[in-house]
Symmetry: C2
Subunit: 248 residues, 2 copies
């Protein structure tokens, strides 16, 4: 499994991913799922990949080759075009591998999230499906997730507001969301890669890789649990002594 998360606010983007991959229960590895394509001052894309590792590696390899040759993501004029470039590469790999996979009952399973900005264009955030079609985040739905999405969703729903949430605060929500997921699904695990991108920077200036023993990650884990328990204690009392509607 995997957990990848992109958050967009008026101020910028937070991109975060775990690093655990597994083939079955007895083959667990560490693998970076965050890939950066950057021409400082001109364009920057942070791509998060989830699903079959073989497929996402092929897609990233082909995207990187084109990018380094001045094609593909290097020439996309808008973030929508960039998402389409990624979707085209998904379809290319699908053409190469899908039939062989399905013959042995494997699904063609790969999802990508791309956040970034091109000079003169607004920063933006997209999800690319295994079929290659893109979905855009919005002011009402200012985050996109792939992989094990459910455990880490309630905190984002309650906390992230496109117009109001500062970038550093959005990063804390991202870490809490990932920490919540890691506690419930052992196939999601550290190191956690996080990028904070402020709109207009056009390069990655703030990035962290938080290992299992990173004091900041441990502090989030510990402080958050204490804060939650305190918050529950401070909730007003709920009256259970008045009998409600009688059950049959």
């Amino acid at each position: 499994m995997t957990y990848c998360l992109g958050i967009i606010t008026r101020a910028g983007l937070v991109m975060a991913s775990d690093s655990r991959t597994n083939a079955g229960y007895d083959q667990v590895n560490v693998c970076r799922k965050m890939h950066i394509f950057e021409r400082p001052g001109e364009r920057v894309f942070v791509v998060l990949s989830s699903g079959s590792l073989s497929l996402s590696q092929s897609i990233i390899t082909l995207l990187r080759r084109d990018f380094d040759n001045g094609a593909g993501l290097a020439t996309a004029e808008t973030m929508y075009d960039a998402a389409r470039v990624i979707g085209d590469q998904v379809r290319h790999v699908s053409d190469m591998d899908r039939a062989a996979l399905e013959k042995d009952d494997y699904r063609f399973n790969v999802h990508l999230i791309v956040g970034g900005q091109i000079q003169g264009q607004p920063h933006d955030l997209y999800l690319v499906y295994p079929q290659g079609n893109p979905l855009c985040a919005s002011e009402d739905s200012p985050f996109l997730q792939t992989g094990e999405t459910k455990y880490g969703r309630p905190i984002l729903v309650r906390g992230i507001r496109y117009h109001d949430t500062p970038l550093e605060e959005a990063a804390k929500y991202a870490l809490i969301s990932i920490d919540s997921t890691m506690r419930s699904n052992v196939t999601v695990g550290p190191p956690i890669d996080v990028v904070l991108y402020r709109a207009g920077e056009l390069e990655v200036r703030r990035r962290r890789r938080l290992t299992e023993n990173d004091p900041d990650l441990q502090a989030v884990h510990r402080q958050w649990e204490l804060a939650l328990r305190k918050a529950v204690l401070e909730l007003g009392p709920i009256d259970f002594d008045t009998f409600g509607q009688k059950a049959p």
Copy 2:
């Protein structure tokens, strides 16, 4: 979908369930999923049902018939026996309905949670699978969930401690867990039925049915969101200005 939750602590039990049932997306109804079997002073069982409504209705109907006739749950000597009585009824209904369902590609899908106490025995909490076999909660895993379990799990993992959590506090965790689930899955919905059972009471004394507009439920929803956002603000700063390990 459904969300049912049983919590056991040294002090007693919290049993909670939502009330939404749906057949497809366009047939949504309200249905109580909490069923109480009670001989005050002697025994009490709170049964939560999830899965196919037809199947859980059959199981509850047959359990109720036996109980009213002084058999089944009325004669179980331990909570383990009570879970086995429920499992036997699951298998009975499976014998009647499973083949016909599977012929039309429906799964035999029903999960039950039972919490309660029999005079002279400790209070206890079990989950009964569609195959009829029981699973017991434990001091290390002091809650059991069925249905849409993921959204509401992180708060329980962080909060519920068998030896320490007071019953009224466990009830707040249950409401927050259900509220988190309702926000992310529209097939989980109010009214919410909640029972607080203190070990030794041997009858249901504290029960609430919280409708959508119940001021206590709305207060939990509102206060919790405020408390979470405050807690995130109060988390220590995370240093993103030091560059971490360089990504490829």
